[in-house]
């Protein structure tokens, strides 16, 4: 096995694929699956010799022979109710160990012209539309994980919002992972097509139960037509023993807006990639992110925004809080192409190291090939501010609480920008819950 091609598990994936093919219909997509698998087998898992994977070693994923067969695909109503957003009225799709659960999903009341459905159903009946869009925005050549996902496309979410339509409620997708007979690999595939002037809010939730060991390999493709708006939330709470690779690909038309909040809290080894293509004038992308790690977690966030046309805007603000022996990676790349004049691109990454053994590698990158542009980027890595700590302690606040408070204040910079209140509340709850003196801190944030 060469270093560049560490697909020591090629046989395993070939066998898995054969087995998988028997379970799905031979159809218009079969050929694409096969070529994607071929590509994956040839390239193998990415080695950390590749610039793009320099700080993230995926051998723990490559080594394991994850199964593609879900043995557990049910969940009790009590279990799911504990997980759902109770205070948010939304369309909801539930997947258990990668498999769509019609029973728990809630799509009633949906206007007829809007499509929100399981990808497997869409594949079977919406050939014409899907052919135009599926696998058109995510490039199998960019990441072997995307190729692997494409080979195994089955369950996932297909959303089509026709022009001039506003989806009246947020769309919430729950990907739940539980213990499985054999450690499971799932390859959720989401496709979101937004027509002209269409608007929607989409939440992708990844939640691990039972401290299960599994591998989520998700690919989301988004196509935004003229003046459409998609607000996108990704909340990653995989189990402590889980691997999560996520690839989000957005192609934007004229005056469209994509606003993303990517919150990474769980997982043992996590990689989130976002690719934004500002392919027409006036397109804007806002990328906000937060990662909080502890123990031996490894969380890598890579983003790349291509300003392909003039008057496009990108703003990125990611914050990380790293504790224990955890490791974070941030790489934010902005490429301003030659014809893209009068663009604006701003990028910031701030990190808080709470322990001596936590580490972060941060690299904001700007590549500018146009001359009339407004760009800025910056990255900081620091500890809690000593003067602030002393000030709080001199005001009778004990040291642990003071630390928690300052940590939360740091994180809140990202959370406070979330306009969907139930999500904000849930995140606050989750994050504060991890800090000492949660009750007291909660008070500070009530207003």
């Amino acid at each position: 096995m060469s270093q560049e091609n560490m697909n020591n598990n090629a046989q395993h994936y070939l066998a898995e694929f054969d087995q998988f093919q028997e379970t799905v219909e031979r159809d218009w997509f079969s050929e694409q699956r096969q070529s994607a698998l071929k590509l994956f087998i040839e390239t193998g898992f990415p080695s950390s010799r590749l610039e793009n994977w320099k700080y993230t070693d995926v051998r723990p994923i490559a080594k394991q022979s994850f199964s593609n067969v879900s043995t557990t695909t049910s969940i009790t109503t009590e279990e799911i109710d504990a997980i759902r957003f109770q205070d948010i009225d939304c369309y909801e799709l539930v997947f258990i160990n990668g498999v769509y659960s019609k029973e728990h999903s809630r799509l009633d009341g949906l206007t007829e012209n809007i499509v929100i459905e399981n990808m497997a159903d869409a594949l079977a009946k919406d050939k014409d539309l899907l052919e135009k869009h599926l696998s058109q925005y995510a490039d199998n050549n960019v990441s072997p994980f995307t190729a692997l996902n494409t080979a195994f496309i089955q369950h996932g979410t297909y959303i089509n919002v026709p022009k001039n339509t506003v989806v009246d409620k947020p769309i919430n997708i729950l990907y739940l992972s539980k213990d499985n007979a054999q450690p499971l690999a799932t390859h959720p595939r989401n496709l979101v097509i937004m027509g002209e002037h269409a608007e929607a809010t989409l939440i992708e939730n990844y939640i691990g139960l039972d401290d299960a060991n599994y591998f989520t390999n998700v690919v989301t493709e988004v196509s935004l037509s003229t003046a459409s708006i998609l607000k996108h939330y990704k909340i990653q709470q995989e189990s402590v023993n889980a691997y999560h690779i996520g690839n989000l690909n957005v192609t934007q038309g004229k005056d469209s807006l994509f606003k993303s909040h990517s919150i990474s809290l769980g997982g043992s080894l996590v990689r989130n990639d976002i690719y934004g293509q500002l392919a027409a004038e006036g397109a804007s992308i806002v990328l906000n992110g937060l990662y909080m790690t502890d123990g031996k977690q490894h969380v890598d966030n890579h983003t790349r925004v291509d300003h392909l046309k003039p008057n496009t805007h990108s703003t990125e603000n990611y914050r990380g809080v790293l504790n224990g022996k955890s490791r974070g990676v941030f790489n934010g790349k902005v490429v301003v192409h030659p014809q893209a004049q009068k663009i604006e691109a701003h990028q910031n990454n701030a990190n808080l190291l709470l322990s001596d053994d936590a580490e972060i590698d941060t690299k904001p990158e700007l590549e500018i090939y146009a001359d009339d542009v407004k760009c800025s980027h910056g990255a900081t890595v620091g500890q809690l501010d000593k003067n602030m700590l002393f000030y709080l302690r001199s005001r009778a606040i004990d040291e642990d609480t003071a630390r928690s408070l300052l940590t939360y204040a740091f994180v809140n910079e990202i959370i406070s920008d979330i306009s969907l209140v139930p999500i904000k509340n849930r995140l606050e709850h989750l994050i504060i819950g991890q800090l000492p003196d949660a009750e007291l801190i909660r008070e500070f944030t009530n207003e």
């Binding site: 003067n387 602030m388 002393f390 000030y391 709080l392 302690r393 001199s394 005001r395 009778a396 606040i397 004990d398 040291e399 609480t401 003071a402 408070l405 300052l406 939360y408 204040a409 740091f410 809140n412 910079e413 007291l440 008070e443 500070f444 009530n446 207003e447």
Partner: protein
């Protein structure tokens, strides 16, 4: 109440306090004046428990206990309050919630019932009037984007709410306009009582017109080199520090 004996402190290799003695009884107001860099803020910080200072000699007793052993928050629970020369901005931490947490932390550690929201609001309403504190400052982050004077006023407001036994005011008067100086001084005066002691660090006699100290000390070169009554401040205002500092050097050389 406070007994400082032969206090020597270092920051890194630099000795800053060099044998400081000071004794304060309950109810007394002591003004500490002295040239820039003489160690006034260092003394204030050491009393409040900021780390980075190494005490190499001497002792500090507060209410009969060794103060230097206590963490900053324990000192606050025991009734010590420092109004900072440079109050710290803390983005994202709400001013009024900090105060409520502070009040309740102190009460809890004294075995008193914590205040609920209603009781707390009643308490701060009163104190806000005392220092004419603007409403909107309360709901903002601690000191964030406050003007210099607003920060100082916020310190005194906190002091009024926390009702310390020993308050150390480090140049609270600098940065205040004339009206604010009056208001803040009145606030401080109204908190004066037989149990509460106050250390006023200042450069200006003007403050002492409003808050009459029982004693005035001159801190220079890390020591208190002269002490007297309020009249000493007037003399300093007129003659500066040179005459005492020279005197002191003379004494040192003679000794």
């Amino acid at each position: 109440m406070l007994e400082i004996q032969n206090l020597h402190t270092k920051i890194g290799d630099k000795e800053i306090l060099k044998g400081l003695n000071l004794s304060i009884k309950a109810g007394e107001v002591h003004a500490i004046m002295g040239p820039n860099g003489s160690g006034k803020s260092t003394l204030a910080n050491v009393l409040a428990g900021r780390d980075g200072y190494e005490v190499t000699q001497g002792s500090v007793e507060y209410e009969g206990k060794d103060l230097l052993e206590l963490a900053p928050e324990e000192r606050a629970w025991a009734g010590i309050f420092l109004a900072f020369q440079y109050p710290v901005e803390i983005p994202g931490v709400n001013n009024v919630y900090l105060l409520k947490a502070a009040v309740n932390a102190i009460r809890k550690n004294r075995g008193e019932q914590e205040l609920d929201a209603v009781e707390f609001l009643a308490l701060i309403k009163d104190k806000m009037k005392l220092v004419k504190m603007k409403d909107d400052l309360l709901s903002r982050s601690v000191n964030e984007d406050f003007s210099g004077g607003e920060k100082k006023r916020n310190e005194i407001f906190q002091m009024a709410v926390l009702e310390p036994k020993l308050a150390i005011l480090d140049e609270t008067d600098s940065g205040l306009d004339i009206d604010a100086l009056k208001i803040v001084s009145e606030g401080v005066n109204s908190l004066r009582n037989e149990e509460r002691s106050i250390i006023l660090v200042t450069h200006y006699q003007r403050l002492l017109d409003y808050i009459k100290p029982d004693y005035v000390h001159v801190l220079s070169g890390g020591k208190i080199i002269k002490s007297g009554g309020p009249e000493l401040a007037l003399e300093l205002e007129e003659k500066g520090y040179d005459w005492i500092v020279k005197d002191d050097k003379g004494e040192n050389e003679a000794a």
